[in-house]
């Protein structure tokens, strides 16, 4: 007989987003459950044993596990209930509007969890070699950066002895340093773009400090080896195309891919949540509610953040919106569309409520040291903000106060280089 449980709020994922959102809900007296497939809270933070977390949110520098421990403690103190080692395999909206999760765990078998509101906080997964169709053979020794990080930091296993890292995403940069500290030689980090994909501070602290070459505008064009990786071939790019005459070989036994993150929304999509092709995350209104009433989203499952501190802030904000909905306020009706225009990859959230102040998050498509972000509505510039360092790797945010968002009509954002003024 399958047992059922009932909560006011069910949160899927016990990473920073899920824990922070649950804390807000439980603190407000709501009966809140967090479900996670792992045996411990913290999500991917648990394998991020380096420091650099929490400077904004906790005003001090913490390691990933420390950050995880703090947010988990806050959640426990707030009275959040936990279900670890539990995988949610489906989310359904019943005909009466109730949300119904099916979960599997060793301890309890199949459980049905009913909730008035569901917060999606499943995070993201890494893009793989296969997603990019990187040519070559398929030997052992090819890992995503995060998988190698888990092997090294959780299992205590050395993924190899001599590595090349494809892509300069933050996890790849962190892993370049981590591998070096474990005695693994990092031959190069190869990046197809003319600028790094990761944060500037990671380039300095993880590559420059260890004299690890960063090959910008280069592409990994071949992986060689039968049983185990033996070498890779790398070629410079000319207008985005590899110049194969100038390709060269780097001997190595390990290749790490750090080539981007994809919000993990298969569960959401199966529940009928509409996704934004630009983010890979759900389309949400200013309450962080998805197109399915009662299902909210925050953190990396919504869009990939650069700092966990922003994830925590966004999750808390989303949770406050969940509370408002539980208290009986209206849903997304009466909201107006938000659009990202020139030089912006995306904007989150995708709708706004007149009179309600909202923090918008953006990703730039351009690199510049003087950028101006503008909000425009009905032909009028509502607000503009200058940024001294605009990089696709770094998230931009803009608070638009409710006093400026009074009128109905589409809200458009655009980014331009400052010198154009």
């Amino acid at each position: 007989m399958i047992q059922e449980e009932k909560y006011e709020v069910a949160v899927i994922g016990a990473g920073a987003a899920g824990l922070c959102a649950a804390t807000v809900c439980a603190s407000a007296g709501r009966n809140t459950l967090v479900v996670d497939r792992e045996e411990h809270p913290g999500g991917i933070l648990r394998q991020c044993i380096h420091s650099g977390f929490g400077l904004r949110y906790f005003k001090e520098e913490l390691t990933g596990p420390e950050y995880a421990e703090r947010v988990a403690e806050k959640a426990e103190r707030a009275g959040v209930r936990f279900r670890f080692g539990t995988t949610v395999v489906s989310i359904r909206r019943e005909t009466d509007g109730a949300l119904c999760l099916t979960s599997l765990s060793t301890a309890e078998g199949v459980r049905i969890i009913r909730a008035d509101a569901v917060i999606l906080a499943m995070g993201c997964r890494e893009r793989t070699r296969g997603n990019l169709a990187v040519p070559g053979s398929r030997p052992a020794g090819v890992f995503t950066a995060g998988a190698a990080q888990r092997l090294l930091n959780i299992e205590g296993i050395l993924p190899g002895k001599k590595a090349v890292i494809a892509g300069s995403g933050d996890i790849g940069l962190i892993m370049a340093r981590r591998l070096t500290w474990a005695g693994i030689r990092v031959e190069a980090v190869v990046e197809i773009m003319p600028y790094p994909a990761g944060l500037t501070r990671n380039i300095v602290q993880c590559l420059d400090d260890f004299h690890i070459p960063l090959l910008l505008e280069h592409s990994l064009v071949n992986i060689l080896g039968h049983g185990r990786v033996e070498a890779v071939e790398v070629a410079p790019l000319s207008r985005g195309v590899p110049v194969t005459e100038r390709k060269f070989r780097i001997d190595c036994d390990t290749v790490l891919f750090s080539v981007g993150l994809i919000p993990e929304n298969e569960l959401s999509a199966e529940a009928g949540v509409e996704l934004n092709p630009a983010t890979g995350g759900p389309l949400v209104d200013s309450s962080y509610e998805t197109g399915v009433p009662g299902i909210f989203a925050c953190g990396n499952v919504l869009h990939v953040h650069d700092l966990v501190d922003f994830v925590s802030e966004e999750a808390e904000h989303a949770a406050r919106m969940v509370l408002r909905r539980l208290d009986g306020s209206d849903g997304g009706s009466g909201q107006f569309p938000v659009r990202a225009e020139s030089n912006l990859k995306y904007v989150v959230p995708n709708r706004f409520l007149p009179g309600c102040g909202t923090r918008f998050a953006f990703r730039s498509l351009i690199v510049c040291d003087d950028g101006v972000l503008e909000a425009e509505q009905n032909g009028k510039i509502l607000l503009s903000k200058r940024f001294s360092c605009v990089r696709p790797a770094e998230m931009l945010t803009l608070e638009v106060p409710g006093s400026l968002l009074k009128e109905p009509g589409e809200l458009k954002f655009r980014l331009r280089k400052g010198e154009e003024i």
Partner: protein
């Protein structure tokens, strides 16, 4: 002991032969040089059960293909591997192509292909809604389908071993000699097996094995096929296997709805020199994409989750070479089993059995022959109520290890206990690691389970046997270049 038959090679041909022989009162040994069965040519097969209209009946491969195709329902019933008759259609986009389709249709009728149908544009679009609307016509054969080739090999071998066949993996045939009507076969690591009859089903290396036994000289030419796999969420997934109009040496690049819900595009067909060259290339990917988008415009590189390549073992005359050796006694050649070898494989096993009989092997049916395998439970196919019942017998059924394909710890443990102790062995047996994250989340967890079940330390596990070690040791095993690290800190 002296075996009655030694089958060399545990791909589809060898496995099917060993399985066929397992119903007789014989001692059969199946020798495989890799760490697991089906890990050579068979693993990278496209998984098509061909309908039987692509080849002329004058060839052995066409005759065995047509016979083999008809055997799959019974086989699936007994062995439970994933198989579905989706139907195969060939889509033509010009009048020249339509002329070829007419020939295929007539060939299909001559070959006795059931339900073979010439189709106009409307009919084709009704059969396959994802098809490029610029199609002008084609043909359809409802008896074609798709199968998971490695699962098929695993089931054949599992049923064969349950019925007494002895499987020896990591056995690379290095030498053979014959005395007193018995073959003595030595492996490269010094192991020895003796058998009265030998079946050479060594795939790409059948030429080498033939030489070792002093049998016929011939050359197996590897012909590479690259394939790309699309995520199960791909909107381009067709209902049926979609073929283009074939070229001279291959059936063309196709779109395949796999039985397990993903979509495969490929294969290419290019002669290569190296029998180990299974690398994928950027040029071929572009070629495949442009070809299949002509068939099904919805195919998108955004849906790619992985690529792989396989090698077809090709004889000079392009046909199968299945015959008693005229040079080496009690030696059966099963060589050149390229496409449609998978489709033909059940018939190949039967054919080889008859050849052995004609060479004097006595075939007495066993009194107790347990052909059927117990049905396998798989979390992805079970209802919540059924899963809850499985959980009460074994809680590992509701511990999901591979999130993308919903594979439980119980399924992984079963694979390991059945002898699949490499990461790829577990992957191909269970699908764990085959989904969109390609093992990014679950590989370490699976390694932990394999290690726990086998006692092999995690750092010594391999991807696919041999020198495919997954790790280089434990943290602390490598000296750290402190000068470099310290220099870093000072900078």
């Amino acid at each position: 002991m002296v075996y009655d038959v030694a089958v060399i090679g545990a791909g589809v041909s060898g496995a099917s032969t060993a399985w066929r022989l397992s119903r007789y009162q014989l001692h059969t040994v199946l020798l495989e040089w890799r760490s697991d069965v089906g890990f050579g040519v068979s693993k990278a097969n496209s998984g098509i059960i061909h309908a039987g209209f692509h080849h002329q009946l004058s060839t052995l491969k066409a005759r065995l293909e047509i016979r083999g195709n008809l055997m799959f329902e019974a086989l699936q019933h007994e062995l439970g591997f994933p198989f579905r008759r989706t139907g195969i259609l060939v889509a033509a986009f010009s009048r020249e192509e339509m002329a070829t389709v007419h020939k295929l249709y007539e060939q299909g009728i001559a070959n006795g292909v059931p339900g073979m149908e010439m189709c106009g544009r409307e009919r084709l679009l009704q059969l396959e809604k994802k098809l490029n609307p610029e199609v002008i016509g084609g043909c359809f054969a409802p008896g074609g389908g798709t199968i998971e080739p490695y699962r098929y090999v695993f089931s054949l071998v599992e049923s064969a071993t349950r019925n007494g066949v002895c499987l020896k993996c990591d056995f690379e045939v290095a030498e053979a000699s014959r005395a007193e009507d018995v073959w003595r076969i030595r492996s490269s690591s010094g192991a020895e097996v003796r058998a009265r009859y030998v079946v050479n089903a060594a795939g790409l290396f059948a030429d080498r094995v033939s030489g070792i036994f002093g049998a016929e000289e011939f050359t197996i030419h590897p012909r590479k096929g690259e394939e790309y796999l699309l995520d199960r969420s791909s909107a381009a997934r067709p209902e049926r296997v979609v073929f283009p109009v074939p070229g001279a040496h291959s059936k063309g690049v196709l779109v395949i709805p796999t039985v397990e819900g993903t979509t495969m595009i490929g294969p290419t067909s290019d002669a290569v020199d190296d029998k180990f060259d299974t690398a994928a290339s950027a040029e071929q990917m572009q070629r495949i994409l442009s070809h299949v988008r002509n068939l099904i415009p919805g195919v998108s590189p955004r849906d790619l989750i992985t690529s792989f390549a396989g090698l077809r073992p090709v004889m000079d005359n392009e046909d199968f070479y299945i015959a008693l050796s005229e040079k080496a006694p009690a030696f059966v050649q099963v060589a050149g089993i390229q496409s449609p070898g998978l489709t033909a494989s059940p018939a190949i096993g039967e054919y080889v059995k008859d050849l052995l009989k004609s060479a004097g092997l006595p075939l007495l049916e066993k009194v107790h022959f347990a052909v059927e395998l117990a049905p396998r439970h798989e979390v992805r196919h079970e209802s919540p109520a059924a899963l809850d019942r499985l959980h009460s017998g074994n809680p590992a059924w509701t511990h999901i290890v591979c999130r993308c394909e919903k594979i439980s710890e119980a399924e992984i443990v079963e694979a390991v206990r059945k002898g699949h102790t490499t990461l790829d062995g577990v992957k191909f047996y269970t699908r764990a690691g085959m989904g969109r994250c390609q093992g990014g989340f679950c590989a370490a967890r699976i390694m932990r389970i394999i290690s726990r079940e086998t006692g092999i330390p995690m750092e010594e596990l391999t991807k696919k046997g041999g020198n495919s070690r997954l790790a280089a040791g434990r943290l602390g095993d490598l000296p750290v270049n402190t000068a470099e690290v310290r220099g870093g800190e000072g900078a």
